[in-house]
Structure formats: structure tokens, C-alpha cells
Symmetry: C2
Subunit: 425 residues, 2 copies
């Protein structure tokens, strides 16, 4: 099949038309469709795995690396995980129809602000095929139609999965047009998809920082730009240094490749001589390279052993390392720390370690990030850890949704006004 | 003063830095500053009026038309209105600090989702000088710093007003940097201001449809695009036609130049022969020109007198007339009406007139507009009429805020997470 942008626009337009019906479909029917998807995934396990095997063979021929192949690979267990994920979404509360506020006006008009779906969500994603199920089910539950554009590596797997989803929802009585899968991987179409603001309400990129940036810069509709976290932890004068060490090590080493991993430690000068040597020792144990500013260097120079320590270059501040590297800087005050964060941060996740209530409140109030933490690890910035039930993305936008986005965060509202013939004088 | 884009960026950056302090300032201090603004406006009435007179003289020399001059003109009464507006904002509830949700997680972390200011709001506006006070006070109350860029016609008036605001808030103990007024009217700077997404979080255009469009297309930061309303009223088979006539006339004629004025009447074929003659008569009384589709023409052709009726051209549907013109179309069903609205509407305000509950609910649920009305006039789509206390704009965006935007709608939230040393396993 040769897909032109006209065909893609037709698909998005069909999603848009179907989305208006989906907005009125009951929670029971949506949940039945989600269960049907879970069952169909299990029933079609063999054909899913066969398609995945073909994708993997092609990937091997193309010389893709081990990490990429691993992300692509489905197993019996991973297929079951996808089915379970669909069942989990069915179990979540339906955000649609919630009355956010209502009032009766003196002229007798009744006003309701009601939560409604956004309409059509476009998703551009990369290698993991489970994203197809993940996003299709999140959108279905939140009443949104979706246009899915997956990476070329998993095209066969994704095509099978999308077909399963479409059949399952159709069988539950929902028009299958609410899920559109783009069966081509021509890169030029991505750019064209980003211009279809007449039929797509929101774009969500899922993948590399490069993809997120491209979508953010080129989408004519709104886009969730997130996933890039230059995360700071500030060790205050009043910190419990034992907690500080445990938290910094957790935030840096538990999963260094994710966006909520810590990048920079800011240390109040009054505790630097006590804290830095222990930090260097612990980072040494975990193979973390320390990139230290001049003042931190002068403390660390005197130390035998511990972590690898190198002088920080200017771009070691404001960088998301996505690996076992951390920059460290000594500051004179909490204000200096907050100034540094404002200059170099990405408004994602920042923490203060302190026993001083005033310092904590100042930091939590004045640091302008989606999630701010006191005496705990930035690695907690996550939909599941925040109790949202599901995570669509972690937003660093300031409008609409901030931090972890769950089902509610891919909805909007409308005002419904009911009268009995009132006119405005 | 020659203002370069560097100077403008410095102003926006100063606003950004000051905004972090403003976020933590108490309601009492903000209200005191608002009262101080009101008092300073009254105390400086004469110098405001003198500056305004100079602007008006320049406008006369430049040959500006009567409507423009009228919008620019301040009088004793209008100065008092500005002071009263500032007092009204002081009396509104402070949106900042509201805890939108909170929970304790099993690991002991305490989570709060707290309403916070957006940061820095940029406003580009045209002739009315009261916008300077209006927006500065709305931003102050909602904890946002603001960069004001008014039109060149009122530059002297606006400069005086901005100076009054800055002095008054400084006297109340708030850094005057939170209000920045751009003292030049060089048009090239508008474009550059729209690129300052490093220091401005949200742009609000206040003025012509052309300005709104320009800002929407060129702003690198988020922008409120609204104010353009192609508004429909659908007269259902089950309508009370007496209500329908009264509502349609109100929505079209009460203030035809505003965005919530009705543009198109869609009439169910079963009531067209009864309704259209009365509509033509009433529109005749109010000097409204009717642009009728073929089927409506064939009914109206047979009528003596009434409104001026001409055959609708294709672009009479989907046009915001902003004057005493309405297009009219006969439809076969509510679905046809909703299809027309989806094709030609601007997602602003649409109404159904019907006594049939099922039709009303279908319309309110499936029409995808910021505000949907049953048995009342689209002219009610307004912050004050919705009980929001103040109106910043009427948004036709689907993300962040929809419909009338009050104080809450120019805020965002952040997650505050408080722990006692927890790390994530």
C-alpha cells in the first residue's frame, strides 16, 4: 500500500468524525471494548509473535543494536503484560462526564463545566510495540480517537496489534474508525501529520529527545513536550546528610536512562566538606562519574579513591546525562541554588534535602518545576508513583497539564448551559 | 527612548525573575497593591486625562475614524471605571495556593497538586487604554508577572497608566518589575516578543481577529487564540418557536460586533415554513440582512416585506459577520445540523432550541464547542455571565482553558512531594 498524505488526512478525518460519537459512549461499553482487546491479544498471541519474529529478522539484517532489538522483542510474558495493561485501564475510573463545577445563575440559567474528551490524539512513537496497545487503550478509556504512527522497525507487529484492537472495539459496538493506524513508515508523512491541526487536537511524541523536540517545534496543533529532565537535588545547610546521600544515589543510579534521574547535585557550602567525600565514595561504588565545579574540585582533589572525578565544563550544567554521570556544584545559599535551577533546569523535577521547614517551603514555592520534592528522590516523578493509575507522558509544559499525565490529563472540558428561553439584556 | 529587542528581552527577563517572588506573595499584600492602584488612578485622574487628550489630538491629526477615537477616549467616568475594576479584582477570591488534590502514598510520601501562577504573561493589545489596568490587575491577583505592549494610538495614556501601576505596587511592597510596559510601538518588536519563549510563558492577544491570528501563528510560547466566534443556533423540530425567535434575535442583534453574536441559523425542515416568515419579519425590524440557502430562499421568496433577503454564497457559512447579517439554512435532521456545525463552526458557542430532551442532550454532548447552549442565547458566553468574576479572554483552544477565562484560567499547578528520606526501589 502506498500511503499519500491525502490518505493519512482521510484517516485522521475519519477519526475526527468518529470521535464525536465516541464522546457519548458509556463507560460500560468502553470497558467491554477494553476487555475484548485484552482477550483478543491473548487469543492472537501466536500471530503477534510471528509478526514480531519477522520484524526482528529484518532488524537483524539491518544491523540494529542489542538494546533496540531488546525493546522490540515480544515474548509470551510481554504479550500477557499487554493484555493485563488493557484490563488495568478498564479498571480505572472513567474521567469523562465528571462535572467539574456547576451553578445556577440568578436569571435561571444552569451552568455545568463538564469533563469531555479532547477529540483526536496523534501519537508518534518509536520501537516498543506495547505502546500501540498502551496508547490505544488510554485513548479509548478517555473517549479520544487516536491516530497511531509507530516506528518502521515494528511495522508488522504494530499492524497486527492495531488490527486486533480495531476488531475488538468494533465487536463491542464502537466504530473502529476511532483507532487509526498509519501503515506506512515514510518519514515525510510525519511532518505532514504535524500540520493536520484541522483534524488532530493533540500530538504526543513517545521516544527519543530528538523526536520530542522535532514534534514540539513542528506541530501546528498542541503537543506534549516532555520527557526531557535536567533534574537537580539541592543539599541544604540544614540537611540530614545520611538521607541526602541515600536519596542522591537513588535518584542518580536506580535507572539512569530515564527522564526523572538526577543530573546535578547542588551543595550548600556549609555541608560540602562533610558531604562530598561520602558522595564520592558512594558514586565510586556505583560507577558514577562526578563532574565538579572549581570549588567542589578543590575539596575532591584531596580525596584518595572513590568516584572518577573530572572538572566540569560549562555544558555539564543544564545537560540531561541519561547515564552514570552527575555534575556537582557548591553554592553559597538556597537562593544561589534556586537561581542555578532557574538558569539550567528544564522545569521537570527538582528536590531539596533539608530539615529546615522554612527552606523547604521556600524551595517548594519558588522553584518553577512540574514536580518539586522535599527529602525524597526525583525518581518518584512518575504517574504510577503519584497514584494516577496510568501514565501517558510526563509533561514539562506549563499549560494544560504538568508533570505525570494520566487519563484526566488527556481530556478537556466544555460549558453546558441550559435555559428556558432566557435572553441577555 | 529607542527600544531594541535586547532591551525588550531584558524587560521580559526581569519580569521572569520577579515572577518567582510574586508567586510567594500573600493575598493580603496583593489586595493592598490592587487598592493602591485604584487610589492612585483616582489621585492621578488629571494627568491621565491630559495624556489621553494628547493621544486623541495625535489620532485626529492622523485621521483615525470615530469608532477608534471613541474606544481611545477616557472621561472622568471611564477613569472611575478603571479604579473600580481594580477594586473588583481585589474583592475576588485568590486562586493561588488552592490545593487541587492531595494524597498520602503507602510509602509515606505526601503529595499535593497546588494551583500556582503561570509565570510571565505577555499581552499585545490595541486601542482601549483600560486594558492596561484590566490586564495588569488580573495578572497581579493571579500572581503572574506581565509584559504589556499596547497600541501606538494610546501610547501616552498607557505610559502614564503603567507608571501609576508600577508605583502603586512598589508602595505595597511588591517589586515593580512584575509589571513591564513596552514604551515603544515599533511593530517589528511584536514579532520578536513572540519568540521570547525562554522568558514569557503565555501570550494573550486582545484586539482584532487579525491580531489574534498573527499571534496564534507566530508565538513560540503558548497563546490564547480566541475571540473568533462563528456561532450557530439550531432550531429543532421540537422547538418552542416563540422562544426560538426571541433567542435568535437576541443572539444576533443585541451586540452584533462581539464574538458570541450569532452568525448562522440552522432550521429543521419541519418547522421552517412556520418559523422563517416570522424570522424575516423580526430581522426586518432590526435591519438584519438574511443570506439564505436555496431551500430557505424558496420559502422566503414567497414573502412580502420583512428583512432584506439574498441568496447565500458559499462563504456565507463559516463567516463571522460582526454586523447585522445572518446566514440561514434548512436542514433535514439534528445530525445534519451538527455536521454543518462541525464543518463550519469555530468551536466557540452553539445553541439548540428544542423541547425534546433527547435532542438537547445529543446536541450538548456531541457538539464540540467551548460552550454549548440549550434554549438560550449564545450571547451569554461571557465571563461575567458565567459567574467567573473577571474575564481575560474567551478561548477557542481545546487545551488548558476553554470558553470564558477568569483568574483560575491564567494559572497552572505544580506537584509538591514531601518525604522523610524515602527512596524508590
Amino acid at each position: 500500500m502506498t500511503l499519500t498524505s491525502t490518505t493519512l488526512h482521510d484517516q485522521a478525518k475519519a477519526a475526527n468524525t468518529a470521535s464525536r460519537k465516541l464522546a457519548g459512549i458509556s463507560t460500560e461499553v468502553k470497558n467491554a471494548a477494553l476487555i475484548a482487546i485484552a482477550e483478543a491479544i491473548e487469543a492472537n498471541r501466536m500471530s503477534i509473535l510471528r509478526a514480531n519474529e519477522q520484524d526482528l529478522e529484518a532488524a537483524k539484517r539491518d544491523g540494529l543494536d542489542f538494546h533496540m532489538m531488546d525493546r522490540m522483542t515480544l515474548t509470551n510474558a510481554r504479550v500477557k503484560d499487554m493484555a493485563d495493561a488493557a484490563r488495568n485501564i478498564a479498571a480505572l475510573e472513567d474521567p469523562i462526564g465528571e462535572i467539574l463545577e456547576q451553578r445556577d445563575m440568578p436569571n435561571g440559567l444552569h451552568l455545568e463545566r463538564v469533563r469531555v474528551p479532547l477529540g483526536v490524539i496523534g501519537v508518534i512513537y518509536e520501537s516498543r510495540p506495547n505502546v500501540t496497545i498502551d496508547i490505544a487503550t488510554l485513548c479509548l478509556k478517555s473517549g479520544n480517537a487516536v491516530v497511531l504512527r509507530g516506528g518502521k522497525e515494528c511495522i508488522l507487529t504494530n499492524t497486527v496489534l492495531a488490527g486486533i484492537v480495531k476488531n475488538a472495539i468494533e465487536s463491542a459496538g464502537i466504530p473502529s474508525d476511532v483507532v487509526q493506524f498509519v501503515e506506512t513508515t515514510d518519514r515525510a508523512l510525519v511532518k505532514e501529520m504535524l500540520e493536520m491541526d484541522d483534524v488532530i487536537d493533540l500530538m504526543i511524541p513517545r521516544g527519543s529527545a530528538e523526536l520530542v523536540k522535532f514534534v514540539g517545534e513542528n506541530a501546528k496543533m498542541s503537543a506534549i513536550t516532555g520527557g526531557v529532565g535536567v533534574c537537580h537535588t539541592y543539599i541544604d545547610a540544614g540537611a540530614n546528610l545520611e538521607h541526602a546521600l541515600k536519596i542522591v544515589v537513588n535518584a542518580k543510579t536506580k535507572r539512569p536512562t530515564v527522564c526523572n534521574a538526577m543530573d546535578t547535585v547542588l551543595i550548600h557550602q556549609s555541608v560540602a566538606r562533610e558531604f562530598l567525600p561520602n558522595l564520592a565514595t558512594e558514586f565510586g561504588v556505583h560507577d558514577v562519574e562526578l563532574r565538579a565545579d572549581g570549588r567542589a574540585m578543590s575539596v575532591l582533589d584531596a580525596l584518595p579513591g572513590g568516584a572518577k572525578v573530572v572538572p566540569a565544563k560549562s555544558d555539564d550544567f543544564g545537560t540531561e546525562f541519561l547515564g552514570l554521570i552527575a555534575s556537582v556544584k557548591i553554592v553559597d545559599s538556597i537562593d544561589d541554588a534556586m537561581y542555578h535551577i532557574a538558569e539550567y533546569g528544564s522545569k521537570h523535577s527538582e528536590a531539596i534535602i533539608s530539615e529546615n521547614t522554612e527552606a523547604i517551603e521556600k524551595f517548594l514555592n519558588e522553584v518553577d518545576s512540574g514536580a518539586v520534592f522535599a527529602n525524597t528522590s526525583t525518581y518518584f516523578n512518575d504517574g504510577a508513583q503519584f497514584g494516577l493509575g496510568a501514565e501517558v507522558a510526563i509533561s514539562t509544559n506549563k499549560l494544560h497539564a504538568r508533570g505525570p499525565m494520566g487519563l484526566k490529563e488527556i481530556t478537556t472540558y466544555k460549558w453546558k448551559v441550559r435555559g428556558q428561553g432566557q435572553v441577555r439584556e
